[in-house]
């Protein structure tokens, strides 16, 4: 009797298909406030470097904004935080300590890829180019 029951269970499990989520073919949804990819909105950033100082993983480096971008007057040194997502531990310390609340947060977690991921393009996209280019 017990064996029949087991057989039934096995058959049912066999027909049900795998229990695991077949990521990445099937999306694995995360919470909207999951700590995912974040970057600085350079319209608000003043280049004060508090995030770079406070980063526990030393993942943030202050780099110069390339020429051709219009930087707000408050950012006199023309620097912005470049986050190396390979080093980042996603603790959001930078987001919490930013005095100007300049960080844009998202729940994006799919960061694996062939190229070295950093926040450069995302941050620079928040700025308008000089001459409307």
């Amino acid at each position: 009797m017990a064996k029949l029951k087991l057989l039934g269970l096995s058959l049912r499990n066999f027909l049900k298909g795998p229990a695991t989520v077949e990521y990445p073919r099937v999306p694995a949804p995360v919470e909207p406030d999951y700590r995912g990819r974040h970057y600085a909105d350079l319209r608000k950033c003043t280049g004060c470097s508090v995030c770079a100082i406070e980063c526990p993983a030393n993942a943030i480096e202050m780099v110069e904004v390339p020429s051709g971008y219009e930087v707000p007057a408050s950012n006199r040194r023309r620097v912005y935080p470049l986050i190396d997502y390979g080093k980042c531990v996603f603790c959001y310390r930078c987001v919490a300590v930013c005095p100007f609340s300049a960080y844009v947060v998202s729940n994006e977690y799919k960061l694996a890829g062939p190229e070295k991921p950093d926040s450069g393009p995302l941050s620079l996209d928040t700025l308008s180019r000089v001459g409307g280019g």
Binding site: A19, T20, V30, E31, D33, Y34, R35, E54, C55, P56, A57, V89, F90, C91, Y92, R93, A96, V97, P99
Partner: protein, 397 residues
């Protein structure tokens, strides 16, 4: 010409178990001396995962360390953070609001559930029941999800901060966590029953790796390992830190002292943790904002020292933090983890059992290697590799 050849056959064979994945995926070397199938002596060798975190803490500021401390151990990161943060709060003389304390307990109890589920899953894997491992891990996803809802990340919570927690809990999230716990509790009951009734598990765990009550006390074992040997040691009950003083829970104790008892203590504790988490969700007070502004936390720490302890999933974890009052960095952070204590004092448990029992016994101790790598040199007795006569071993072990 025709010299006599002597082939020496050692009676006791040395079997190195590890350092690559001895029973779980962490580096630890067990130097096992076996006579046939029987283990006669075990030497524990650690130090393969030493990262110098205590030194790193001296080089970083008090607040940055909160996040570095969380990385001492992935599985029990909130208890580490809680212990360290409570030491900082003691130095500063800050008392967080009750709501924050309740939320901390919720995060730590969710962590205890998933840690115990992982430990028992690995035990199931090591006794050769891989299917059970898979199933437990599948259900563990529910508690990982609950932790994600609460803290914003599945594993690395980074939830506890000086003066409170880093995000609040609204009613939607509360219902979601309660729903996940409701779905999880019957599964925990089910797995507990599997461990009570399944022949495979029973045959491999009953009367294996026995530690008597006296052994547990003599070797100062901690956590579920001690509680499975009848020693009711639990920092939650004796210290009543955070909100544990206002919550009702039992200290689970078993008297058998074998691998099975340790697994059962973990299942019972996971169920007890579900009960505590439900109480937190029900009783959650609203006496203030639990989320302090991280920009306004005090930067200057007065000179002083603090010693705190918490009950981590693996036993009592203590932190000793010294501030010299001069700079933004701590003068010293000393971490004493339960795994370290349990593992280096464990060799007596293996003696007399077969080599095949070794993974089960090791898994039942729930070793967390990255937790325990605070020092680099450890040895059980006098350390050196030496050959021993069989007679000596029989008498000395």
């Amino acid at each position: 010409m025709g010299g006599r050849k002597i082939v020496e056959v050692p009676v006791t064979l040395e079997v190195p178990v590890g350092p690559q994945h001895p029973a779980l995926h962490e580096p630890l070397l067990l130097r096992v001396y076996a006579e046939g199938e029987e283990i006669v002596r075990v030497e524990v060798n650690t130090g393969y995962n030493h990262r110098g975190i205590e030194k790193l803490c001296e080089k970083n500021s008090f607040h940055k360390n909160v996040f570095i401390i969380g990385r001492v151990c992935g599985i029990c990161n909130t208890v580490h953070t809680d212990c360290y943060v409570r030491a900082l709060e003691h130095l500063l003389g800050i008392e967080p609001c009750r709501r924050a304390l309740f939320l901390r307990v919720l995060a730590m109890e969710l962590e205890r559930i998933h840690s115990h589920m992982l430990a028992n899953a690995v035990l199931a894997l090591n006794v050769g029941f891989e299917n059970l491992f898979m199933n437990i891990m599948l259900d563990r996803e529910r508690v990982m999800k609950a932790k994600e809802v609460l803290t914003g990340s599945r594993v690395m919570a980074d939830y506890i901060i000086v003066g409170g927690v880093r995000r609040g809990l609204d009613d939607d999230k509360r219902d979601k966590i309660a729903g996940l716990l409701d779905a999880l509790a019957p599964r925990l009951e089910y797995y507990k029953r599997v461990f009570e009734e399944d022949e495979t598990v029973l045959k491999r765990t009953i009367d294996v790796g026995k530690a008597s009550r006296l052994d547990a006390v003599r070797h100062s074992l901690l956590g579920p390992v001690a509680r499975a040997s009848g020693v009711a040691v639990d920092a939650r009950a004796s210290e009543r830190y955070d909100a544990y003083g206002e919550l009702d829970f039992n200290v689970v104790v078993k008297s058998e002292g074998d691998v099975w008892a340790r697994a059962m203590v973990r299942w019972d504790e996971a169920l007890e943790a579900v009960r505590i988490a439900r109480q937190v969700l029900e009783k959650l007070p609203s006496d203030g904002n639990p989320v302090p502004d991280e920009r306004k936390l005090p930067r200057k720490f007065p000179a002083g020292e603090a010693y705190t302890r918490v009950e981590a999933p693996r036993g009592e974890l203590t932190y000793y933090v010294v501030s010299d009052g001069k700079g933004p960095n701590p003068y010293r952070v000393k971490i004493r983890t339960p795994s370290f204590n349990n593992i280096v004092n464990s060799p007596f448990m293996f003696v007399g059992y077969s080599v095949a029992d070794l993974p089960a016994i090791l898994a039942s101790l729930d070793p967390c290697i990255s937790c325990m790598e605070r020092v680099t040199v450890i040895d059980v007795e006098n350390g050196a590799r030496r050959s021993m006569a069989l007679r000596e071993l029989a008498g000395g072990a």
